[in-house]
Symmetry: C2
């Protein structure tokens, strides 16, 4: 006797296990199988019942990544043999998460699928650094783009984004950072603020802040690697990094004018 066959796609949020939703928590608590990957915080598995299988479906060092078609099939098999399968994904399942492919595949076997939205890293990770993707008077839109398209090439949308007033958020783009920077340079935007965040929302979070001109050297200086989130746009100028610079520079101005008035 197994639980009712069902698959729930749960967005686990950016990394901090407390950024899971209550609905996501309830799903995990009633899971017979949890299939998770590299971007999920493994602390979330502790919410699953003792009897639940915990299946890793991500990439391991020295091993091939499981293909999407293999994951799709695995979810269906476990649902039919074990009952309630929770598919736990970093961020939100429908933001570059291939969640819809898993949903369609399972539905083609007549298996009920529920989707539980998660906190997307694209918004939350800059936010936790004090940078809003939109801000009145600075940016009235944001554009979220993958750096790694299925063809392997950089998305043409990045050139269009460089001409817009949108805040640009690039996921999976670290190995294309030089190309991205070059596009913004070509559009004369070398002074546009830019930041890169690795392990956002986690205790080992790392950040590099600068401008299009300086961001690549900042990334090297702070030893950031993949996966990381790249944010480009004037809203990044709200980061404390720039406030400190402005404070220092105002202070110098004040000192100079003080000297002038006393001489």
């Amino acid at each position: 006797m197994i639980n009712q066959t069902k698959i729930t796609l749960v967005g686990a949020g950016p990394g901090d296990p407390d950024l899971l939703t209550l609905k996501g928590l309830k799903a995990i608590q009633s899971a017979d199988v949890v299939c998770y990957d590299a971007l999920c915080n493994e602390a979330l598995l502790a919410h699953a019942p003792n009897h639940a299988l915990k299946i890793y479906v991500g990439k391991r060092a020295n091993q091939h990544k499981m293909k999407q078609s293999e994951i799709n099939l695995l979810l269906v098999q476990y649902a039919l043999t074990h009952g309630h399968v929770v598919r736990l994904k970093g961020g939100d399942s429908f933001v570059f998460g291939r969640g819809h492919e898993e949903m369609s595949y399972a539905e083609s076997f007549n298996i009920p699928v529920e989707v539980v939205p998660g906190v997307s890293s694209a918004i939350a990770v800059p936010e936790l650094q004090g940078v809003p993707v939109t801000h009145r008077g600075i940016s009235q839109s944001f554009w979220v783009i993958t750096g790694t398209t299925s063809s392997g090439e950089l998305s043409k949308d990045i050139a269009l984004a460089a001409q817009s007033t949108a805040t640009l958020v690039i996921l999976m783009g670290m190995n294309k950072l030089s190309e991205i920077v070059q596009i913004f340079r070509l559009h004369g935007k070398i002074e546009t603020p830019a930041m890169v965040i690795q392990n956002g929302s986690l205790p080992n979070e790392k950040v590099a802040v600068g401008t299009i001109e300086t961001i690549e050297s900042a990334v090297v200086a702070h030893q950031l690697g993949s996966p990381a989130i790249i944010v480009i746009g004037n809203v990044v100028g709200l980061h404390a990094h720039f406030a400190e610079m402005a404070y220092t520079s105002n202070d110098e101005t004040w000192t100079s004018s003080f000297e002038i008035t006393t001489h």
Copy 2:
């Protein structure tokens, strides 16, 4: 003796109270004051301690909306007089939420501010309708734009979005729907799928699905009003609405060919 002075900006998610994060829940549970507005589900107030004040800071019928400067000041006053203030906002505080303004203002009084990201309606509301903002082979980016800019005019980014391959998500755009549709028509995109969702994630959710050509009449037919979320792009073609249409049309094709082969 009051709790330590502190302000926590909590994103409440799109409406379903179970789409609050665990971190957001803990913040509300330790609040002395909760300031909430129209887009928050009032069911969330039940998580607050009995002693906590619940202050509505949104728009009421026949009353003026509280100005942002008044809200900023209120948060600071309550933090200084009552301790821990939770500012509860629909969706995420940093997505058209003016959360950064509240944060900066409070920090200028040396009051500690924490931000708890929420599930953004921009992603979650289409997702709950089965529409992913990105999908391999269909859309490798999404662009979130406000329909109502601070100047009152339609954002110029919408014309740029109409030329991109991005999924376009427009918040607060219902009173500009005709203008938006017109821009897509001018770019020859009358067949692009489009949908409008009101009260997303709630029991009274309403949806209109169609194309640029038909979406305005679908909105009228389903009696949708503000606030609602507009989604334009080929990913909307993944909505069940289109699958049903394709099924009907395939079925007819099959019938025709059957007739041909038997005659």
